[in-house]
């Protein structure tokens, strides 16, 4: 049945070369843990992507209950965690996954750094990777405020003060982030929500696309 559907579509759109191009490529021996167990260090980039996919999915589902409003944010998080079936699991995935993404990304960065895999001709991919790192940190920072509990509020106050210590544009940057010169409140929460859910994920998808296209184009760096 599935074969027939595939053939029907393939006959019309010739999709075989497309998915071959994406999925069907050789993995060199030196990056295959089945040949050399130590090659597991090459898995961290893929694991980062895997956890990122979990983050996107669990985040999409969390917005079914979450409200970015200072009166209801905490209540909605409390409700989805305690009253909704598997709420603890879905929120837990997003909560722990956020830390895991950073850990995996850091290990991936270490591997690339210590193997010198960032050297010519892959410098540009390193630059894009560092941008991904910053976007991920931004996602972590903006997501931290959303439950709107005391820890979130005061962590964000400190974070915004750190942004405010930027030379020259510090104050403007602070107001742009917080939405108000003095208050970390209603406008801060909606801003952080928008940045967390729309702006940074869009940037992340674009950067990750560039990251993957470049590694496919250039191939993985050779053995040490």
């Amino acid at each position: 049945m599935l074969n027939k559907i595939y053939d029907w579509v393939d006959e019309r759109l010739d999709i075989t070369p497309m998915w071959r191009d994406i999925a069907d490529h050789e993995v060199p021996e030196h990056v295959n843990p089945a040949h050399h167990f130590s090659a597991f260090v090459y898995c961290f980039g893929g694991l980062t992507f895997f956890v990122t996919v979990i983050q996107i999915l669990s985040g999409m589902f969390l917005t079914m209950y979450y409200v970015p409003d200072i009166k209801n944010a905490w209540e909605s998080v409390y409700y989805l965690q305690n009253e909704v079936a598997f709420g603890v699991i879905v929120r837990g995935m997003h909560h722990w996954g956020a830390s895991l993404v950073i850990v995996m990304m850091f290990l991936h960065t270490l591997r690339v750094f210590f193997q010198g895999a960032y050297k010519k001709p892959r410098e540009l991919n390193w630059v894009v990777g560092v941008l991904i790192f910053f976007v991920m940190l931004g996602l972590g920072f903006t997501g931290y405020l959303l439950p709107w509990d005391m820890k979130a509020l005061f962590a964000t106050k400190v974070g915004i003060e750190i942004a405010a210590s930027t030379p020259l544009i510090g104050h403007e940057l602070k107001v742009l982030l917080a939405g108000h010169p003095d208050i970390v409140g209603a406008q801060t929460l909606t801003r952080f929500f928008a940045i967390h859910v729309f702006f940074l994920p869009a940037a992340l998808l674009g950067l990750m696309g560039a990251h993957f296209i470049m590694i496919r184009k250039q191939g993985i760096s050779g053995p040490l």
């Binding site: 200072i70 009166k71 005061f154 106050k157 400190v158 915004i160 003060e161 750190i162 403007e172 107001v175 742009l176 917080a178 939405g179 108000h180 010169p181 003095d182 208050i183 409140g185 209603a186 406008q187």
Partner: protein, 167 residues
């Protein structure tokens, strides 16, 4: 120069780039202005908020004064409580210091954790003199903000904190 300084192709390229640029700007301008509005709105003038602190009761020892007022945060109005550390200096002027640490915005307290005659911030061990001056060698780089003060019916009123220039 040839008879046709601008070729047909160039002309069309310029025209399309120009029109496309206008269209892109027409889309982006409202959105960018929308996003940066808080930065351009400027700061609201600070009103004085009444407190329960009797001015006559103030001494040269800083006391903690909590005061509540109605705060408008965009579409949300609420009662918020702020804190000031208030004392009279040797010229008999009222000094009201903001407790917001100038390092990263934690809350300082007078003689906190046993630091005599100092304001202390527990987050990164920031210290300030009694007049709010940050002590070199501790994280804060600026003195504590000061509240403008007035008196009404014997009670202290506090305005919006300003950068400290008494130090």
């Amino acid at each position: 120069m040839s008879k046709q300084p601008v070729s047909r192709r160039q002309f069309l390229n310029y025209t399309l780039t120009g029109v496309g640029g206008f269209m892109a700007a027409g889309m982006l301008m409202p959105m960018v202005r929308f996003a940066v509005d808080p930065v351009l709105k400027g700061e609201a003038a600070g009103d004085f908020h009444p407190t329960q602190q009797k001015v006559a009761d103030l001494t040269d020892v800083p006391v903690r004064v909590d005061f509540s007022y109605e705060q408008t945060d965009a579409w949300y109005t609420s009662e918020v409580t702020n804190t000031a550390w208030v004392y009279k200096n040797d010229k008999d002027e009222i000094v009201a210091l903001s407790p917001v640490c100038k390092h990263l915005g934690c809350t300082v307290s007078w003689e906190g954790s046993g630091h005599t005659d100092k304001f202390f911030c527990p987050c990164h061990n920031g210290l300030y003199e009694k007049n709010g001056k940050n002590i070199p060698g501790t994280p804060p780089l600026k003195p504590l903000d000061v509240y403008p003060t007035t008196e009404k019916d014997g009670l202290l009123q506090l305005g919006k904190p300003k950068a400290n220039n008494i130090v």
